[in-house]
Amino acid sequence: MSAAKKTTKSNSDDYLRMYRQMVRIRTFEDNANQLYLSAKMPGLTHMYSGEEAVAVGICEALTDNDRITSTHRGHGHCVAKGAEFKQMFCELLGKEEGYCRGKGGSMHIADQSHGNLGANAIVGGSMGIATGSALRAKLQGHDDVTVCFFGDGATAQGLLYEVMNMAALWNLPVIYACENNGYSEYTKTEEIAAGSITARAEAFGIEAFKVDGQDVLAVNELTQKLVARCRKGEGPFFIELETYRYHGHHVGDINREYYRSKDEEKDWKENRDPIIRFRGWLVEQGIATEDEIEAMNAEIENDAADAVSYAEAAKYPDISEVDMHVFAD
């Protein structure tokens, strides 16, 4: 782990919360995958497993006032920004108590009350939204920061270059967080992105950083610094986070050896897993014992199981809701 920080009591709490949030994401995804495999979940979903340190490292550097925009692979951002399992599973199953009243589903899941402006099924579709949120903060004199999550594949969208240009011209408090998991659907990143990813931002005079996205402390430390600088009007910033998705592009993408080897997957899972690495560090630093960690894992698993049962039994929205929310009052 990058940080050999002095571990004060409050630091310890922060670290334990980061661990807990990463495990909550992994556990949420394991359950979501199970729901898909047992044909209980309508449609498809994109798993965040493997990328937990990215969402958690970043969101733990934010307050509820700060905003994020999320992607089609959005469960991790949603959990990390403070969402509860119950409403999330309800959304996944299209139930009324879901965060979007069942209207959004996996690809639009978001707990809006914690500053999540939405998961987006259009790749790159949120880049304007995030930048607009930052413009609003600046115009209205607020010090909140907006983080725009997107994948390496999304760097191919022209919109990114339009909004980075404006964000740089106007010094907007936005952080572009590129989750580079090495693949854009079924294609390797190097086949769809020419040149360097960070250089794209640098061309606009935006300071860009590359960080190990499997190291939650490294991600968190960097984000804390950039958020503080954004609040002082020094934004925008760009971060490329090197990470990996453990599952297929979506849950139905099972036979994927034609684009990605099993050995490669095994290597990332066994040698670079963000949760295993952080857990080892917590124990080594004496912040938690193995037993305490096991107890925490078990508690999270129980929470998830309860939330799943709850969501399964929850009711669907009444059909009268179908034309509600087309327009605001």
Binding site: G102, G104, G105, A121, Y259
Partner: protein
């Protein structure tokens, strides 16, 4: 006759045309090794190589624009747009560039390209992956629009589209990719602007596009048991539209329902209904009724999504009312 899926039919049409015309190529996201997420293009890159089956980054306006330029200068690109919903990203290249170039150049430049994309809800894919946006492009002069209703139609219409000298947009229903239909081994083309009378009837005309043809046929089966004989017509292409066949039918039946999966307001159904009103008014015994998707973004929840699209039961109910003379649009 052998039966193949709509997906295989599209694949065959592409393979045949790529073999026939070396200026054709396919361009889009994950079209090569992956063969698209729906696996419609599987095997093509193996035969034609990566110069004719070109994988792109996720840059829809970019590759659409590239296709327009290639088409203007002697190639026949076949663009693969993974979801019909992404048409909003390429609107400028499609509607301001491809659609208008022939006209703006006084007929000197052609844009012979095909945009293959899809439509159709009830796949639990929520509001940004479920839309049926044919009306948006049909509105723009210069674009032809085909809506295959079966594997047979998909193959014949696609081959015609590839040989057309204009930009053609084809909407395939993504829920029909695995549906089988008889498709001859021998080559055939389906001309644009020739509607297909799927079933003859004398009491009411059901005009339906794409997967709504199945909905209309199911409705016709039910109605027939009640003594109402419905005529089912598939326009096949909504631009050009075979008005004559539709009008002939309505003159005979005096009643019509138009069914299309796009949103009902300002949609394909509205256009066809008003043409019938204008040109067959004195033959009508009842107002022409539109049945489209509800005017709401497509919701994710199955409980809501299923009620947003036309169903055979809904068509039957409306047809019954029209045939019994019930005033269905009382003010």
């Amino acid at each position: 006759m052998r039966e193949i899926t709509l997906s295989q039919a599209v694949n065959e049409a592409l393979a045949e045309e790529l073999r026939r015309d070396p200026t054709t190529f396919i361009i889009g996201e994950d079209v090569a090794e992956a063969g698209t997420p729906f696996k419609v293009l599987s095997g093509l890159v193996e035969e034609f190589g990566t110069d004719r089956v070109i994988d792109t980054p996720i840059s829809e306006p970019g590759f659409m624009g590239i296709a327009v330029g290639a088409a203007m200068t002697g190639a026949r690109p076949i663009v693969d747009l993974m979801f019909g919903d992404f048409i909003f990203l390429i609107m400028d290249q499609l509607c301001n560039q491809a659609a208008k170039t022939h006209y703006m150049s006084g007929g000197k430049l052609n844009v012979p390209l095909v945009l293959r994309t899809n439509m159709g809800a009830t796949r639990r894919s929520a509001a940004q992956h479920s839309q049926s946006l044919q009306a948006l492009v049909a509105h723009i002069p210069g674009l032809k629009v085909a809506m295959p209703s079966s594997a047979y139609e998909a193959k014949g219409l696609l081959k015609t589209a590839i040989r057309d000298n204009n930009p053609v947009v084809i909407f395939e229903d993504k829920l029909m990719y695995q549906d089988k239909a008889p498709v001859p081994e021998e080559e055939y083309l389906i001309p644009f602007g020739e509607a297909n009378i799927k079933r003859e009837g004398k009491d009411i005309t059901l005009i339906a596009t794409s997967s709504m043809v199945q909905v209309a046929e199911k409705a016709a089966d039910i109605l027939s048991k009640e003594g109402i004989e419905a005529e089912v017509i598939d326009p096949r292409t909504i631009v050009p539209l075979d008005e004559a066949t539709l009008i002939e039918s309505v003159k005979k039946t005096s009643r019509a329902i138009v069914i299309d999966e796009g949103h009902q307001s300002y949609g394909v159904t509205s256009e066809i209904a008003s043409r019938l009103n204008e040109k067959a008014f004195y033959h009508l015994d009842a107002p022409v009724v539109r049945m489209g998707a509800m005017d709401v973004p497509i919701p994710f929840s199955p409980a809501l999504e299923d009620i947003t699209v036309p169903t055979p039961e809904g068509v039957v109910e409306t047809a019954r009312k029209l045939c019994s003379g019930e005033l269905i649009h009382a003010a």
